[in-house]
Symmetry: C2
Subunit: 301 residues, 2 copies
Amino acid sequence: MSEGTTGRGSLSLNQWTTRHWSLAEAVDGCVRHGLESIGLWREKVAEQGLAESVKLVRSAGLRVSSLCRGGFLTAGGLPGEEGRTAFARALEDNRRAIDEAAELAAACLVMVVGGLPGVRPGEALPTTGPAGGFTRDLAGARERVAEALAELAPYAGERGVKLALEPLHPIYCPDRAVLSTLAQALELSLAHPEEQVGVVVDTFHVWWDPRLFEDIARAGSRIAGYQVCDYLHPLPEDVLLGRGMMGDGVIDFRPITRAVQAAGYTGDVEVEIFNADIWAADPDEVVTTMKARYEDVVLPA
Amino acid sequence: MSEGTTGRGSLSLNQWTTRHWSLAEAVDGCVRHGLESIGLWREKVAEQGLAESVKLVRSAGLRVSSLCRGGFLTAGGLPGEEGRTAFARALEDNRRAIDEAAELAAACLVMVVGGLPGVRPGEALPTTGPAGGFTRDLAGARERVAEALAELAPYAGERGVKLALEPLHPIYCPDRAVLSTLAQALELSLAHPEEQVGVVVDTFHVWWDPRLFEDIARAGSRIAGYQVCDYLHPLPEDVLLGRGMMGDGVIDFRPITRAVQAAGYTGDVEVEIFNADIWAADPDEVVTTMKARYEDVVLPA
């Protein structure tokens, strides 16, 4: 249990929810709204500078519930030199992410493992071919993830960082994560010590899974993070922005929160929303709504 | 093994692929292109008339690889009288679908089980409330499906019709099917005799599933239908139309076809594509392309 939690986790603002705030503004916002924890993004940390970011969160007395994100480990599945170069570059970038997570004392580094080799997030499929193409070898892509983790887990372990494998909704399988279910993330994590590799439960991604409650129980102390946001219906044209404020979509949160708690998770509960309307709104109002909805629909009665 | 198949199934045109053809035109098209089998839709059968449809497919010597579709069994999860009425109406409509499948000697009646009670396909979420609302009770919706099947399976069995449970991609969980994985469909089927309830493997819906190959093997003789089409990326705004011609998306078909054959499936292989561009094209050209792609990317080398 982290210092300052109730043993049931406390609410954390993932800073992408208030995307237009700088890291300094998001830290101030957390303090102003009485939050004890924040989830950070590498882009925002880079803008603020790593040392300055560390200083800001420490002075504010905030915990860092996660750093988003490492991953994109599958490009090694491209043939020949292109694949080898991409794999080496991905490992190097992830080592930097681990270093940053260590500096920030983040509870975990969230890993979005990457999609089919050669398919870029949100972009049209490239022309298939040996150079500049993509591969449909899904099983192979999953093997690349396991290989990369074998390299990265000990590196993370030496720096006291936990890699948190995030299964993404199957809609993102082509371009963002060949890891689609909690069971699959859990199985992948088991090859490594628990302090090195865990899993993230993000309601948006897993709410539909018929094995969800069984797998949350099985995951137990491997649960390294719990993220909440709603699943909007219908999804907007850019499916990445289909995440909604809790209560605005189709998810029944309380049973999931209860299951995550029953599995032994005592960390923070992060709210991470990608949504054009929410980004356009006044961030202070967004945080006020977030706090109210957390009490109303996320926390068990 | 059906008469006239090679023991490896033969290519079947699901008539929604050539949506602008009437049933009579689709039957003619199959004959003209040398296809032995057709997948029918209830709407098209109704337009042509059931008796006339039966006559047309029989005179043409075509097998009916499936009738689409029964299902939408979850509305009984709405509270009170509204739920009871909806459940009774769904059962009645499904009995009519079973009668039609029997008349047409369809190899199976495809079942799209329905989404969250009160959420209409492709429409925005209704206001939550006791009347005219919807429910987020996903587990309850799944129980409603099991209850409805218990009513319908014996009725189907008496008429020699096999209900084929179709797991749909999780993107359709809110509004079309709370059945999201092959494992889940298979488990649901096991409560009933094999000749009454089976499962459909549709590549679009299950390609991403990390347990796919294991579950196809487990499904074995429960596999009542095999449908192929590609998964486009990115999906179009109306996600229902994200189905593409085989080879135009991200799916590696051959390993899946091989697994379905290895599981013992000897029925037809249906091509069912919902796609605005394909519907706008000349149906004869679509069928020609479909035959070529079936040989090139679907059938194992």
